[in-house]
Subunit: 286 residues, 2 copies
């Protein structure tokens, strides 16, 4: 997310001068390899990385196919980097034969852990998706359905079991944050829009007032809100800077008056907002 007060593409931004291929290879979904790999690559802004995620590399045949792909990139002069989170030693060994720089995100740490714990790592794969996952799955399914039912103040039913109620003016990021908290942590999250109608009164909107201590507010900058609203209704009064400024000021006044914790979503990703909400409301994943 961008702070709208800062030009998005400063003239002084370094121009990538070099092109390299980057592979994220995993025996599972590839999400961890991709996330950590990207976090590492972000430290080298002068290089343009051509990224490839290769999930489910869990057979020797699969590993050999990836090696062929990586070697083709090497032949094309892209000097590949290969980030791996592959558990089986036999597959890691095949992958390491590629003409590329290999960064093993798992194996080295496993050795560190073995020595710290004074025991050897179990070779049983898939341990992580074992007992307890059925419960986790049911929790997440229930949480996502709860989030859909309670999105944008649609239903006030069962608000008493909500772990948190996110309140904010339209387009401040309530819906994606709600869904992320439900999916990632299995939390029951409702959200409620603050509209012009809610401000003549002193207190919180009637529907959410009984749950004040579970409310969390979002705000943003007027400029960013106006940009996001223009995406939905270009040129409308709803998207005007004046209207956005007014609604945000009223919302922040309300949060302060009602002692509702809140955060500014303008420079934060959905993941960051979710983590702040968890921390502030002292919530743990279900």
């Amino acid at each position: 997310m961008i702070d709208p007060s800062v030009p998005v593409a400063p003239l002084s931004a370094p121009e990538p001068t070099d092109r390299r291929a980057a592979y994220f290879v995993s025996d599972s979904t590839g999400i961890t390899a991709e996330t950590l790999g990207n976090a590492l690559l972000a430290n080298f802004p002068t290089i343009a990385f051509v990224r490839h995620t290769v999930p489910f590399v869990d057979t020797e045949q699969g590993a050999r196919a990836v090696v062929a792909e990586i070697d083709a990139a090497a032949d094309a002069g892209l000097e590949p980097l290969v980030f791996t989170t592959v558990k089986q030693a036999a597959l890691r060994s095949i992958l390491s034969s590629a003409r590329a720089v290999g960064i093993d995100l798992l194996a080295g740490h496993l050795t560190e852990l073995e020595s710290a714990l004074g025991t050897t790592a179990s070779e049983q794969l898939g341990q992580y998706h074992g007992v307890g996952d059925m419960t986790r799955y049911l929790n997440r399914m229930r949480a996502v359905e709860y989030a859909i039912e309670h999105d944008d103040g649609q239903s006030m039913r069962a608000l008493d079991i909500a772990d948190v109620v996110i309140i904010a003016p339209s387009r401040c990021g309530k819906t994606p944050t709600t869904m992320y908290l439900a999916l990632q942590y299995g939390l029951l999250v409702a959200n409620y829009p603050l509209t012009d109608d809610d401000f003549p009164t002193e207190g919180l909107p009637r529907a959410v007032a009984p749950y004040r201590e579970r409310c969390f507010g979002l705000t943003t900058t007027p400029l960013r809100l106006s940009q996001v609203r223009h995406e939905r209704r270009p040129g409308s009064r709803y998207a005007s800077l004046a209207q956005c400024t007014l609604e945000l000021r009223r919302a922040e006044d309300l949060y302060r008056r009602q002692r509702v914790p809140f955060l500014n979503s303008a420079t934060k990703s959905v993941e960051e907002m979710s983590a702040v909400i968890m921390q502030t409301m002292k919530l743990r994943g279900a």
Copy 2:
């Protein structure tokens, strides 16, 4: 997720014999530290880990507070392990003073990369949340809203722009998978329930038939489906093993007849299902 054909708690499962504290410490959301840390710990099933995620450790004061917490766990005899993804060297140095085994998930690889790329890592923090994130945010917001609107066949509007249409009998995992694809990858995903009414005909349900090549089917095992349905409507015909067996057989027949790719969700997490769908449908994150 569990394979229902396998007992969930086999008598031979190793009993944890040891208790250790595990901290996942991050200067951001902590998700990467937690995911990779848990993947590593899963290899040591005989040890019971007491887990703590500490996000947003981005000041010296914050780092010192974590050290105090870790040292308290050490005093309690929990011999802490500390997994970190903290970028600033000054903070890493404070964290390393804790009386614990430190596993740095980032710093070592940064050194490997510097030598592979022949350049030094930029000290500019927060690069990763830079240009492009506004677009990503808008894509995800749009995708989540699309998913909510098109959940469970609620709306057939704008199905022509769907990246994928997930079809399956009730409770096979359509909704959480849809939402995950929307949030994680910004894809436009609709889902449509296969009900008894859909089976007398030969082809796909009328609403989704025009989009056959974008359809993806889910199935599961009768036993698991019955378990999940009993959670919703205990003792109903809808949850009976006979009804579940029938619906799944019909759905799989339909997928095969219509050449709709499908997967069995019984032993897969939402993340895994999403990655398989992306790979099969040749989709890339938006």
